[in-house]
Amino acid sequence: MSDASNTWQAGGERRVLIAREQLHRASALLTLLLLILGFSLASPAFFSVNNGLTILLQTSVIGLLGIGLTMVIITGGIDLSVGSVVALSGVVSAMAVKAGLPVVPAMCTGVLAGAACGAFNGFIITRLRIPPFVATLGMMLIARGVALQLTGATPISQLGAGFGRLGNGALFRVVEMQPNGFPRVIFPGIPYPAILLLIVAIAATYLLRRRQIGRHIYATGSNEEAARLSGVNVDWTKMYAYTMSGALAGLAGNVLMSRLVTAQPSEGVMYELDAIAAAVIGGASLSGGVGTISGTMIGAFIIGILRNGLNMSGVSAFIQQIVIGFVVIGAVWIDQVRNRR
C-alpha cells in the first residue's frame, strides 16, 4: 500500500513510467477480455459456469508450470524440462501409491522428484557452467527417458479414487438428490486445481515481491555481475529458481495424472512451450530481470481460453497450434515495439 502513496509523491515522470510498465499487462488483459467476448458470441456454450470451470481446470497445469518458469526466466534462464518432469513426477507418485504409500505422501514423493530434477538443472547450470538452454534440454530427455523406462512406456492405472481427488474434486460442490434417486449437480464447485493455482500464485507473488530471494532473483537476471559484486549469492539464487520450477512441475504433474487417475509417462509433451509462452505473453523478458506472476497468469489464461474457445468453435488442433504460435510472436513483438519507444 505504501507503494501507491510513494508513487504519487514521486511526480509525473514516474507516473508515465508506471503507465508504460502496466501497459503490457493492460493490453494482455484486454486481449483476454476480447477473447472471452469473441468466443461467447461465436459459441453460446462458451460463456457458461461449467465451461468457465473447465477452463480453470485446464489452465491450472499450464499456470503452475508458468509460475516456475517465470522465476527462472526472471533470472535470465530458461527451463525446457518441465514437460518431461510433469510426466516423471506423476509416474513417481503413481509408483509410490502402487508401492503401498497413502496418496498424500505418495504425491509428495512425486513433487520431491520434480524438485530433485530442478535442483539437478540448477547444479549443472551453476557448477558446470552449462547454459540453461542446454542443461534443461538434457533434463528434458533424461526425465522423459526415466519416466518411460520406469513404466516400460505403459500407463499406470487403477490408482484408486483417492488419487483422483486432487484433479477431479471441487470445493463448494452442491449436489441435490432428486426424487427419482439420481443426484443433480446444482453448482459443480471450484476445482481443487484452480484453488491450488491461486494459492501458489499468491505465494509466488509474495516471494518475488516481499522476500529477499525474490529481490535477488530479479537482480540476478537484471545484471548478474552487478548482483555478484553486491554480495548476492547468484549461484544459490539460480539453484532456488530451478528447484522451484522443478517442484512446481512436479505439482503440476500430480494434478494432471490425478485428473486422468492414470500416470501417463508420455503426458506433458511440449507443455514447457505453453508455459514459456504464458510467461512471455504476460510480459516476462527472456533476457532476464523482468516478469510478474500476475502477468503470467493472464498469459496462461489467454492460452487456455484460446485452446478451449477454438475447440468449442470446432477449430482443429492443428489450426490451434498455428494460432497460438502467432499469438506468442505477436505478444513479444508488441513488447519489442514498446521497449523501443
Partner: protein, 258 residues
C-alpha cells in the same frame, strides 16, 4: 600516521593467460589517507582494486587487514572487513530502483523477514540527498536514470554501510562540476572520519586536490610512489606515459626548500 596501515597489498600478481595485468604490486593505505592510483588505460588499476574488493582472485600475493593476513574469495568477505567499493562499471541492476540497488545483498527486513521497502526508501532518500539534493525519482528503475545519478547511487552504496576502506574506481567520470565538487567534499569528510581511501582517477586536478600520496602503475607494475608534495603534474604525467620520472627530476618540496 604512526599506526599500521588499514590494509596492505603485498606483491599482488594477476595473470590472464600470458598477460600480466598486475605484476608484483604492493600498496597500502593508512587511516584518514587518500591514496591516488594512477596509470594509463589498461595499466591494471581496476584489476588491482577488484582484487582488494574480493571481486577478483589474485594469482599471487597477500592481503593484510590491520596486519592480519586475509583471503577474499568473494565481495562479501571484503565487505565484512569494512572494505567498500565503487566499481568503475558501477555494478547496478538496471531493472531495480535506487533503494533496491543501494541495499542489494544487504536488504533491510521487517521483523517477519519481509523486505522493508518503506525503510529502504527513507534511508536511500537521506543518503542520496547528501550527494545530490535534486535526486527525486527514487522509485524509477536505474536504467532510466542519468549517468550521474547512477554514479551517485553507486557512491551512496559504498558509504552507507560501516566503511573503513573505500575504493573509488573513477567515481566522478560521469559527474557534472557541482556533483564532482560534492564528491570531493565527501572524500574530505570521510578522510576526516579516519577512513582510508583509494582513488583511481585520470583527473590530475582532482588527484592533486585530494590525494596525500600517489601510486603510478604502468603495464601492471608500480613505477612510482610519492607523497603528493614531492611531484608536479608534469612528473606524474611522465610517470604515467613513459613509466619513469623526467631525467632531471628532484623532489618538488625539497626544490622549494633550497
Amino acid at each position: 600516521m604512526s599506526q599500521h596501515p588499514l590494509v596492505e597489498m603485498i606483491n599482488i600478481e594477476k595473470h590472464f593467460g600470458g598477460i600480466r595485468a598486475v605484476d608484483g604490486v604492493s600498496l597500502n593505505v593508512y587511516p584518514g589517507e587518500v591514496v591516488g592510483v594512477l596509470g594509463h588505460n589498461g595499466a591494471g588499476k581496476s584489476c588491482l582494486m577488484r582484487i582488494l574488493s574480493g571481486a577478483m582472485l589474485p594469482s599471487g600475493g597477500e592481503i593484510r587487514v590491520n596486519g592480519a593476513p586475509v583471503r577474499f574469495a568473494e565481495p562479501n568477505d571484503a565487505r565484512a572487513h569494512g572494505i567498500e567499493t565503487i566499481y568503475q562499471t558501477l555494478a547496478l541492476a538496471n531493472h531495480l530502483d535506487a533503494p533496491s540497488n543501494l541495499f542489494l545483498g544487504r536488504e533491510l527486513k521487517t521483523r517477519f523477514g519481509n523486505l522493508d521497502d518503506a525503510r529502504m526508501l527513507r534511508e536511500a532518500r537521506t543518503v542520496l540527498a547528501r550527494l545530490n539534493p535534486n535526486f527525486k525519482n527514487l522509485r524509477d528503475p536505474v536504467s532510466s536514470l542519468s549517468g550521474g545519478q547512477r554514479q551517485v547511487i553507486a557512491i551512496a552504496r559504498a558509504i552507507y554501510f560501516d566503511t573503513k576502506v573505500l575504493i573509488m574506481d573513477e567515481p566522478t567520470a560521469a559527474l557534472g562540476p557541482s556533483e564532482t565538487a560534492m564528491v570531493a567534499d565527501l572524500i574530505r569528510k570521510l578522510q576526516a572520519d579516519g577512513i582510508g581511501i583509494f582513488l583511481v582517477s585520470h583527473d590530475m586536478h582532482d588527484v592533486f586536490e585530494l590525494c596525500d600520496r600517489i601510486v603510478v602503475m604502468n603495464k601492471g607494475r608500480v613505477v612510482g610512489a610519492h607523497p603528493i608534495g614531492e611531484v608536479t603534474k608534469d612528473d606524474v604525467l611522465s610517470l604515467i606515459v613513459k613509466g619513469a620520472l623526467p631525467d632531471d627530476w628532484t623532489a618538488r618540496n625539497l626544490e622549494a626548500a633550497q
